[in-house]
Amino acid sequence: MKKKPYRRKCGDFEIRVLADGRLVMLAPDDELLAMGRELEPDSSLLPPAREDKRNGRT
């Protein structure tokens, strides 16, 4: 494991897990926001869950 903090490159996304358990997503895209929705289904700050037509879930 490198000792120096990772320096983001164009196209990278960054997620940090803080000591108190919070998850921080930096400038997220749709995919990361959808991931956030899975983790926090009730948050009003995240996009509504999309209907998944493949398995009938929403």
Partner: protein, 276 residues
């Protein structure tokens, strides 16, 4: 935006492109010929590049869902920028395809987007491409100019009447912090003048990302100024500061709940209207 606004946007896009020949769009006053491929402080020639578009639900109340479009390249070097990689290397982003992006905007509108949120980087240094885009977007779009407010008068003249809301993201409250954290000692003075000007003709939301340890040096002078000059402006205090991976001058810690509460109390003590 009606047909006349579309026409005006197209005409102003031409004016903006001409201005790139001797670029004075922002106070860096680089005077480079961006149309000849020269690049100034923002590292941009005349090509406009976008690196992300996304529908967000966590912007200020009333703006959500907000279709954010990120333009690469900036005239500040905020140490705590969360998309700094795209400002250091804007040419790594895809070149703007106006027709394609206009179609994406229409799709996002159908998905529920209430506002079209133009940000970066900094939209001011990409104003020519943004005007070309506005000349083609849906006439009902509510356009948010999400900016650091660090630009010269010409930018305001180009966008006035074509954007609906100035989301003025004021980064610092004093010159010393502005020099150390953003690399622009004249930032506060310029941004304040532009905010006053914008408030004279448009709806303004004044946003401040609360920086840990900067309540006295930055937030306090900001709230005093707002209380004196723009007491009715909507003030938004954001709590999502993320320290950079390698800290030089910026705060190294995340914002604590107590400090955010103090920030809110400070603003409320001046009778300012806070929005979520």
């Amino acid at each position: 935006m009606d047909a006349a606004a579309h026409e005006q946007a197209a005409r102003r896009a031409g004016i903006a492109r001409e201005a790139l020949r001797d670029c004075l769009l922002c106070p860096r006053n680089c005077r480079v010929d961006r149309t000849a491929g020269e690049k100034g402080y923002c590292q941009l020639d005349d090509k406009v590049r976008c690196f992300r578009e996304v529908l967000r639900y966590d912007e200020e109340k009333g703006l959500n869902p907000s279709h954010q479009i990120y333009f690469a390249g900036c005239n500040l070097k905020c140490e705590f920028c969360t998309v700094s990689e795209w400002n250091e290397r804007p040419d790594a982003a895809d070149e703007l395809d106006v027709e394609k992006l206009a179609a994406t905007i229409a799709r996002r509108k159908k998905e529920g987007a209430r506002t079209l949120n133009l940000l970066g980087g900094e939209p001011a240094v990409n104003v020519h491409g943004i005007l070309e885009l506005l000349a083609r977007v849906d006439s009902e779009a509510v356009v948010v100019w999400n900016t650091n407010m660090y630009y010269n008068d010409i930018v305001d003249e180009l966008v006035t009447g074509l954007v609906d809301i100035y989301l003025a993201d004021l980064k610092c409250g004093n010159s010393d912090c502005a020099q150390r954290l953003l690399g622009a000692g004249d930032y506060v003075e310029v941004a304040k003048a532009n905010i006053l000007r914008a408030a004279g003709h448009s709806d303004v939301i004044l946003r401040y990302l609360v920086l840990p340890g900067h309540l006295r040096c930055c937030l306090e002078p900001i709230v005093k100024w707002v209380a004196a000059e723009l007491p009715d402006v909507k003030l938004s205090l954001r709590d999502y500061y993320v320290p950079p991976a390698q800290v030089k001058e910026a705060p190294a810690e995340y914002l604590g709940r107590d400090e955010y509460r103090q920030a809110v109390e400070l603003a409320a003590s001046k009778g300012l209207t806070l929005i979520e």
